[in-house]
């Protein structure tokens, strides 16, 4: 079948997609977007987390056909929608906090972290606490970092978003 949807603001089409093919497979193998990672194919590790119509999903658990006519945003598109800036605020915070080690889980964690900042600080709902951050990331496995620097990065990104929303200088 032919599947047409939007990825990172750009319309894409994939042909001869098999009904059982995952969105992750189409992104990685057909659309040249290997940023989302395949680490369990069971929706347990979160390494393939992407936005589907603004909601985070495990791309390995979504059939490609289900994405037809919808909007997908991957790690490759995190910094692009605003245009111009090199890195999105969450990416920048990961860099500063030392939240990356092997980097394999990082793309999924970035999307999930971006989602939390978007739901809280960017909406003017304040900086999430430690427990809220950990709970929101509790579908994303990381084997390298022990999560501490990741939690720190999310807090940092949220604090900056909060300051921006409140009109404070960065």
């Amino acid at each position: 079948m032919r599947v047409t949807f939007e990825v990172n603001g750009r319309p894409v089409t994939a042909d001869d997609v098999w009904a059982g093919e995952s969105l992750l497979y189409v992104l990685r193998e057909r659309l040249g977007l290997p940023g989302s990672k395949n680490a369990c194919e069971q929706g347990e590790c979160g390494s393939c987390t992407v936005y589907l119509d603004g909601v985070t999903v495990c791309a390995c658990m979504v059939a490609a056909g289900q994405a037809h006519g919808r909007r997908v945003r991957t790690v490759e598109g995190l910094s692009s929608p605003g245009g111009g800036q090199r890195l999105d605020a969450v990416q920048e915070a990961f860099l500063e906090a030392g939240a990356v080690q092997c980097g394999f889980c990082t793309p999924g964690l970035l999307v999930q972290a971006d989602d939390l900042v978007g739901r809280t600080a960017r909406r003017g709902l304040g900086v999430p606490g430690d427990a809220e951050i950990r709970e929101h990331l509790a579908g994303n496995l990381c084997r390298c970092t022990g999560y501490e620097a990741i939690v720190e990065a999310v807090r940092l990104a949220a604090e900056r978003a909060d300051a921006a929303v409140r009109g404070g200088a960065r």
């Binding site: 680490a39 069971q42 490759e76 080690q101 970092t145 999560y147």
Partner: protein, 809 residues
Amino acid sequence: MATRMFGMPVQRTEDERLITGKGGYLDDLGAGAYAAAFVRSPHAHARVRDIDVTGALDVEGLVAVYTHEDLSGPMAEPLPLLIPHPAILDGRTPYALAKEYVHYVGEPVVMVVARDRYVAEDAVGRIAVDYETLDPVVGIEAAARAERVVHAGMSDNVAAHLVQEVGDARAAIAAAPNRIELDLDIERSACTPMEGRGVYARWDGRDAMLRLYSSTQTASGVRAAVAAKLGLQLGQVEVVVPDVGGGFGVKIVHPWPEELMVPWAARALGHEVKWAEDRREHFTAAAHERAQRQHVTVGFDDEGRLLGLDVDILHDNGAYLPYGIIVPIVTSTQLLGPYKPGAYRVEFRSLYTTTAIVTPYRGAGRPQGVFAMERTMDAIAAHLGMDRADVRAANFIQPEEMPYDQGLLFQDGRPLIYDSGDYPASLEKIKKLVGWDDFTAYRDAARAEGRKVGIGLACYVEGTGPGPYEGGHVQVETSGKVRVATGLTTQGQGHQTALAQIVADELGVPMSDISVTTGDTRRMPYSVGTFASRGAVMSGSAVALAARRLKEKALRIAADALEADAEDLEIVDGRVQVRGTPSAGIELGTVAVLSNPLRYAFDEASKAATQFTGAADYTRPPVAADDEPGLEGTDFYSPLRSTFASGMHAVVVETDPETAEIRILRYCVVHDCGKLVNPLIVEGQVHGGVAQGVAGALYERMEYDSGGQLLNASFMDFLMPYASEVPKVEIDHLETPSPLNPLGIKGAGEAGVIPGAAVIAAAVEDAEGFAITRMPVSPSELFHLRRRFDKGGIAPLPGAYSRTGEANA
């Protein structure tokens, strides 16, 4: 003088690529490659009677199906035993594809190559293998009893047997005023990197060259092994290690069956072939670690000082022994930790079972050894009614006793001699950090409220940076950019940043001008690999030495050009200049031009090195007899022996009186890995190690049933912790430099995980008042232990309750 980079918490240069989705991991490569998949044994032990592939042949997109019958020469022989040792009695290794027998669930039997992985898996499902099932051997007890044997031709399951002894431990124990025996048990866990194994091969038939990409911890090892198996010259094989999504030890094993079959098939088919391991394959068919039973007998005096220590270890090595007996050797030597054991005897038997192989997982036998020693320390304290920290202090090797010879042979085949360390200072730091001396009051107050809290302490010494060697190559391009290469691989430790920091300081160039390549045999063919916390020690030292060679040459050439004395020159920000007269200088890139006498100019800058430019000395050849063209330096670092890092962890837990849930309230670490290259990276290593230590103590185990089926081979059932389970870690550093290497550094990669089981067992024990001897400990296990304890089935710890003044009710 530019800012010194060594020791600075520099942001990692790797990260910008990785956070924008531009990492290039194994499965991100080879878009045009055929995909491989494997038919794997569903039985723990069986004889392969027949393989019928006909059902797969009409699968559209199928390319090839291979069984052991298709292999010949070295490929048809068993895989190498990587680390031979005289104590190995019968070292069995697998075949690239099973020959007649299978010895664990997941063992590869048939290889399928197809257009894509979906097609390959469809074909795998249609291949019928007829097995005659044989008796499985699961668990240490069954292996030791040897009523059933794993390998045909063996009368028992003992792969190796080793005794090391210093003094007469048994006599010392018999003569000691106090004596305790402990039976300890640790279960299996596994590295479980987020990225599994993977191999991608390109065979160029015209050049007769193989390019192999592998998610491995050793490029040079894979190269040599693949060349030997495929009957190629070493020069015909290039191994390139792309970004690797974590290793933790499992990827040091090589060659994996798949790592041979993929390049073999690529050559046979004249087409690129790739295999990326899936999660279930990683659980069942990669490697595990940890499982041991230990019997400890210790004799000690009334002050808690060890007089004799006798440890008997049964080690489960799984179905095969490709990595030799490194893990139990590490356990039996590193068990001693920061202590003087008196007389010491250690004996281990390494046993075959019909389960996945056991090879190093971060810590590599140390967590088990530390568990044995630290449980023993706590038992001595309980026996004597002493403070647990005091018992440890009574047994410490003192700083002035360094270097300290434990009298044993370590895992690198060299003497177990500690180079440096200050254990009393570490103990003071950890006691202060966790508030050890104030804890009794806190515990009593908590108990008065009906809460159960406990504190634990565990110490370790870790031999890091073993040889034999690692190499560094540093080159200044005519652009002034600096290219650095080392052979060992990186899987997330930030080597590219740390090595660039070292070279920046040695050479006097900005980090932004330095690029570092790891794990690429085209750039540095001589290498060993990444294991045993050796990256910074070995390659850090090697690139420092290489940079020093290069600098010496740069100064010599610049001295000629500037008509100055080399002794008066320095390199600042990539420019060689006269000390005190910075205007008299020359760019390093120009020095690189001058280092290579030319006949032909290729750009404006290179004209300076051509034959009719400037004054020439007609009495000397353009390149001196003892010199060579180019501004490069290569050097190798080969240490006398390992350097010994150390540390201490203290943890406070609370156990729920009803549900037996174990919560970590505080996790404190004092860590001494010598000089820190980059504190940000070292702290990240500690955090990650602690998370794996906590995971191994409370959550993770490989759950084999008696038939040898792994029941929890997924992230749904194997409880790898999320952010919601891992505690915050409080860290304090001590920096005792190593005298063995030019930078004074010690390894840091494994440290965080090592005392995890020991320290959490100690804290739970302290909270509960009875001995914890088996790890991991889950809430349901703790619940059952409590019930046994309440019924008198477990003795209370002598002294545990008296410490707090609580009634022994």
